[in-house]
């Protein structure tokens, strides 16, 4: 009966999450929107193909370089580790939303079902979503290794099961971390803030740990590298230090006979054990974390002075909309995470490796080399613009309104003004990269004028990124979601926005490189970049202004 309820929940979650029933309905009616959606999905996949082929070539090159050493199986280890680390990071956000913020949870919790089965159903859905994350990394490595190394007869059957097992352990690790975190913070007054910081902390801790695990022993680098090259499993074992189960998976695919089966069995057993652990932890920890989120805070009467303070600030409609956007984004962990995570993580990834050995001193010396000033200014501005690519704030800004969009339709504010408010909020978020760049002035000899140029040029270069992202969401907002994660993480607009951002920044980047190569005066390069950015951004702004009224009228909730 109990196992049956788990299976029933998995089926229910699949139907709801992947819209299987809805898909059948739309397909039967040949719904235009659905077909357009499929077309856009195909377009996004197609636009990633060049990147995918580039990755295939990289895997191929690694295979070529390691084959003479007899260590070609390292391509499998590398792909496993990369995919697993990605599953862990992405999984944390997916799991938080699916386990704790799904709209159907209050309903499911009222049914006579064990918590482990409720979360088991959610876990299965996230697992299936993660196959999309791991597929490009792992399948390409399997293909290259499988077609070039003449593996044994067990290779392909094991390969299929390995692919299915690959995300299980990292996702289970992410689930366990989330269950512990949510349970520990469940009773806190400021649980949202605490949870958000803890999520960032877990990710940063893993980044730092990875770095220290992957470091070569200081002083013995040469001898260590030699031992890696001589040992037939040296490179694979070295890479798998970050994620040890990758070695079992590699051995199960690269060995023959009993060794392959034994290692596959190890992978399968550890995956099963990981799931059992998650279900056991769900039984013990889930309710406390979930119930904490359902508790209403203790209400307090506002006195007239406080009411005066709250209501005394009268804002313009644009500013009111920008403030609304920022408040909701900051208070919804999954939104904040997807809009600002890179601003926290990227500097750590850049700084951590420099903190050991003499690398920082060397870098400072290199950065202080005469004649480098202009290039550094361009790099600083580029950093601000590139950071804005990774923010999903504007490419999901209408989608995030979801069913609340009715308010945007009934208020007497012109749609263009509403979009200007959203753009303003997006700009304020993008501007958070400015102080971060300026922090680098501790090691880079920037003067006050340099910093002003960097900030201005960086923010101007953000303009096409922000307007193109807003344009994408205006064209086809995704409003029919039942959990905030779907509005941002499972929203194809955020992916399209990122692709478009890269495309609209490319001309500026090319001009910068071309200008430097031709030794153009720096201020001319700055002006060219600003001009191009304003032109491209202006085109998207013009399109937004043209379409705002009609699009808002056509969007039904």
């Amino acid at each position: 009966m109990k196992t049956n309820s788990l299976w029933v929940l998995i089926k229910l979650n699949f139907k709801v999450s992947f819209g299987l029933a809805a898909m059948r309905y739309y397909l039967a009616r040949r719904d235009k929107k659905f077909m357009t959606g499929l077309g856009i999905f195909a377009l996004v996949i197609a636009s990633f193909l060049p990147l995918f082929f580039l990755y295939m070539r990289l895997v191929d090159a690694v295979y070529e370089a390691t084959a003479p050493l007899g260590q070609e199986q390292v391509v499998l280890t590398m792909a496993t580790v990369m995919a697993s680390v990605l599953v862990f990071f992405v999984g944390i956000v997916y799991v938080v939303s699916a386990f704790y913020f799904s709209n159907d949870l209050p309903f499911l919790m009222s049914l006579p079902l064990p918590f482990s089965h409720i979360l088991g159903g959610k876990f299965a859905v996230v697992l299936v979503e993660e196959y999309l994350t791991v597929a490009p990394f792992f399948l390409s490595a399997l293909w290259i290794y499988g077609t070039r190394s003449a593996p044994g007869s067990l290779f392909w059957p094991i390969a299929v099961f390995s692919f299915l097992l690959l995300p299980v352990i990292p996702l289970a690790a992410a689930s366990l971390a989330v269950l512990v975190l949510m349970s520990a913070t469940g009773l806190s007054q400021r649980k949202d803030t605490l949870r958000l910081f803890s999520m960032f902390f877990i990710i940063l801790a893993v980044v730092v740990l990875n770095y220290y695990l992957a470091r070569l022993p200081e002083g013995n680098e040469l001898a260590y590298v030699q031992s890696l090259l001589q040992d037939p499993e040296g490179l694979a074992a070295y890479i798998a230090r970050i994620y040890p189960p990758a070695l079992w998976l590699t051995r199960s695919l690269a060995s023959a006979g009993a060794a392959a089966l034994f290692n596959f069995l190890m992978t399968a057993l550890s995956s099963v054990l990981a799931v059992v652990l998650v279900l056991a932890a769900a039984r013990r920890l889930f309710f406390r974390g979930w119930a904490g989120g359902q508790e209403a805070p203790v209400s307090r009467l506002l006195d007239s002075r406080e009411l005066e303070r709250h209501l005394g600030r009268v804002s313009s409609p644009r500013w009111a909309i920008a403030l609304r956007e920022l408040k909701i984004l900051i208070r919804t962990p999954v939104y904040l995470f997807n809009s600002l995570a890179t601003l926290v993580i990227v500097p750590v990834i850049l700084v951590v490796p420099l903190l050991s050995g003499g690398e920082l001193a060397l870098l400072i010396e290199e950065l202080n080399r005469p004649g480098l000033g202009g290039v550094l200014n361009l790099a600083g501005a580029g950093f601000i613009a590139i950071m804005s690519i990774f923010s999903a704030a504007l490419s999901s800004s209408i989608s995030r309104e979801g069913k609340m969009f009715w308010l945007s339709k009934v208020i007497p504010i012109n749609p263009l003004q509403q979009l200007q408010g959203k753009l303003l909020a997006g700009y304020l978020l993008a501007a958070l990269a400015v102080p971060l760049v300026l922090l680098f002035s501790a090691v880079i000899p920037w003067k006050a004028l340099d910093m002003i140029i960097i900030a201005l040029l960086g923010l101007v270069a953000c303009f096409p990124v922000l307007t193109s992202n807003l344009f994408v969401d205006l064209l086809r907002p995704y409003l029919d979601w039942d959990n905030p994660q779907k509005a941002i993480k499972q929203n194809i607009n955020t992916l399209l926005g990122m692709l478009l951002s890269a495309a609209v920044l490319l001309p500026s980047i090319l001009v910068a490189f071309w200008g430097l190569r031709c030794s153009l005066p720096l201020h001319l390069i700055f002006f060219l970049i600003a001009g191009i950015s304003l032109f491209i951004g202006g085109i998207f702004y013009y399109l937004i202004a043209r379409l705002a009224q009609t699009r808002y009228a056509k969007i039904n909730v």
């Binding site: 009616r29 209403a296 805070p297 209400s299 307090r300 009467l301 506002l302 007239s304 406080e306 009411l307 005066e308 709250h310 209501l311 005394g312 600030r313 009268v314 804002s315 313009s316 409609p317 500013w319 009111a320 909309i321 403030l323 609304r324 408040k327 909701i328 208070r331 919804t332 979801g402 069913k403 609340m404 009715w406 308010l407 339709k409 009934v410 208020i411 007497p412 504010i413 012109n414 009228a553 056509k554 039904n556 909730v557």
Partner: protein
């Protein structure tokens, strides 16, 4: 104040009309009750009146403004309470009200006065500083009501406003509606509670399969049916399949 002329709306390509050539006029100083079975077209009509849906044909005028030609002027004249208010969960009640004050351009002093009055009327003073995500259905309804009245709209449109309200708040709302029309303004609301419509509305309209099958005062409606004992009997007779 409200004028609907030949309004039609059909969903998808099925050809079935949710609202079919609807003509209706509601004057200032009038409380109008809009009745009909489930799926009759009440919410669709209201959504078109407030600008949430575009009619396929026909004209809707709110306080003299065509909702399609002068949407902003028309919307400025409307205070709207939907049947299932989805609100910004991560804003506090007071932030939500302040946001509406900003977008409707309600001056600070007036804003404080009106909000304080409604909060007291609905007993929301203690909850107004909490995030909306912690509100019950009734509290959400009350905060939407407060927001909809913030700019003192000439036309107050409500879709099933009594749902989820406790008896005291329900009575307060009715008094508020009466006070609103006493100043020459208009109230238009849909309801399934026929007793409320019977006792409280100046005129009642019954919509069935997208068509307005009856409209008038209680006395006028009694003339349309054989069993005229109560509005319930009239309603059941007129909407019989």
């Amino acid at each position: 104040m409200i004028r609907l002329r030949g309004i039609s709306k059909s969903y998808n390509r099925s050809g079935v009309k949710a609202v079919d050539k609807l003509d209706l006029e509601v004057k200032g100083g009038e409380i109008f009750g809009f009745l009909g079975p489930n799926g009759a077209g009440k919410t669709t009509t209201i959504k078109m009146m407030v600008g949430l849906l575009e009619p396929d044909e026909g004209v809707i005028e709110i306080d003299g403004h065509d909702i399609q030609r002068e949407p902003l002027a028309a919307k400025r004249s409307i205070g709207f309470v939907p049947d299932n208010p989805m609100l910004y969960e991560k804003l506090t009640g007071i932030e939500y009200l302040n946001f509406l004050g900003d977008v409707y351009g309600v001056p600070g002093e007036l804003r404080r006065e009106r909000i304080s009055r409604c909060l007291e009327l609905f007993g929301l003073q203690e909850a107004v500083n909490d995030l909306i995500q912690s509100y019950s259905h009734g509290m959400r309804q009350k905060i939407v009501l407060t927001g909809a009245l913030l700019h003192d709209p000439p036309v107050f449109i409500l879709d099933e406003p009594m749902t989820g309200l406790d008896p005291r708040s329900s009575r307060n709302l009715k008094e508020l509606m009466q006070e609103h029309v006493s100043r020459g303004r208009t109230v238009f609301f849909s309801t399934h509670v026929l007793e409320v419509a019977e006792r409280f509305c100046h005129r009642v309209g019954i919509i069935h399969r997208g068509r307005l099958i009856a409209c008038g005062t209680m006395e006028e409606l009694k003339g349309l049916a054989q069993d005229t004992e109560s509005l319930e009997n009239i309603f059941l007779e007129l909407t019989e399949e």
